[in-house]
């Protein structure tokens, strides 16, 4: 891969010249020092490493850099600058949906993908949408509620 890998990260054009086999998760955290994306399992099972690639939720621990040539990646660092994030942030806070916080960057990006696809999701749709994001603290109910509140309060944003 001679010229390196071109991709967009949170709105910035990037040229990555490291190993194409490297995991996006590791590149984000270790090379770009964007540590909002968490590492829980490196096996696709916990969702702590969730990012959005070309509009779709993805586990960055299972993404080799070479596979995102030409793609757009959004991490929590980029997403947290948006109005949609502000609506989710407020909703999560209103029902104390955050405890230790480890799952939350992934949970927020999963919430975004739910609402982008279905601005007024049913509880079932919310639960399915976050089914790959594990939380050891909250028991999920507050998170599910928060996403429902964001859909109401942030009406028109999605």
């Amino acid at each position: 891969m001679p010229a390196g890998i071109n991709f967009n990260l949170n709105g910035n054009e990037m040229l990555y010249t490291g190993s194409p086999e490297a995991r996006l998760l590791d590149v984000l955290r270790d090379e770009y020092r964007m540590t909002g994306t968490k590492c829980g399992c490196r096996e696709g099972e916990c969702g702590a490493c969730s990012v959005i690639i070309d509009g779709k939720l993805a586990n960055s621990c299972l993404v080799a850099m070479g596979s995102i040539d030409g793609s757009g990646v959004t991490t929590i660092e980029g997403y947290s600058k948006t109005a949609r994030f502000a609506a989710l942030d407020k909703a999560y806070e209103s029902v104390s949906a955050v405890q230790c916080g480890f799952c939350i960057p992934g949970m927020i990006l999963a919430s975004e993908c739910i609402l982008a696809a279905t601005p007024h999701p049913t509880e079932d749709e919310i639960r399915t949408g976050i089914s790959g994001n594990l939380c050891r603290c909250t028991g999920y109910n507050a998170i599910v509620k928060a996403i429902g509140i964001a859909a109401e309060e942030g009406d028109g944003l999605w």
């Binding site: 696709g44 969702g47 690639i53 993805a58 586990n59 299972l62 080799a64 399915t128």
Partner: protein, 288 residues
Amino acid sequence: MVGSERLPDAQSNQPASGSVTAGSLDEALKLRKENPGLIPYAGGTDLMIEGRADAAYLFLGKVPEMKRIAQDDEFIRFGAACTFSQLICSAHTPGILRDACLQIAAPAIRNMGSIGGNIGNGSPKADSALIFMATNSMLRLVSADSERILPIRKFYLGRKKLDLAPDELIVEVLMPIHGIDNYYYKKVGGRRALAISRVAFAGIMDVRDGIICNCAAAFGSIGDVIVCLDEIDRMLVGKSVEEASALKEAYIDAYNMAIVPVAGRVSADYRKQVCMNLLRDFLESNHI
């Protein structure tokens, strides 16, 4: 090289040449031919778990010819790099396949994992491959120099052994359109979003004017490969539903003899019992 064991690192003595991204099918096939050590990479959801340090990948996720879904009179043609999410959203996807895709993992994995990877991984637990087996789908296997259409039922030669030459790629899956509407699908798993199948079962019963035109049962996760036993299923083909009912116990007995599950996370006895229960339920749901 048909029938060769497809262990990418075992195929070549060349040093790893570094990963490459293919922009078109022609390019992918040329790269595959010139660098037999490259490992085809679609969504990475199986490969990155292994995370082999010395791996050199051929990235296929952006090959347009492998991302298409089209339909002709006989088949729906799914590009091998189509993801489960793509299939779930496509109007071409038949019910049995959509049902199975919806029960695979969680949304993020479904956004990444592809049918070509599901088939190419060679796992007996592959949920979309089970559906392609039950529906007697075909694989279009292409190399730079040749092309062949192979029934998926002939593709699995043994544990992780595929009928895939080192220069070939799975390019499309051809799924028959007709005769697959009356289906039965159950995945018995653990926790939903992780649900690697403990046992999965797909059945097709195509009855026209009271006569069984096609009967197919496929069992996943019970042994080295997905089990499909055409010779047993043929017992019921050409029979009326009443005639089939008379043959029901013989049919179930034949499977009972033929199926020898292996123990894994659950015991072999448990797997066997679940298989037989599902098979019986499949027949009974068809009034047999």
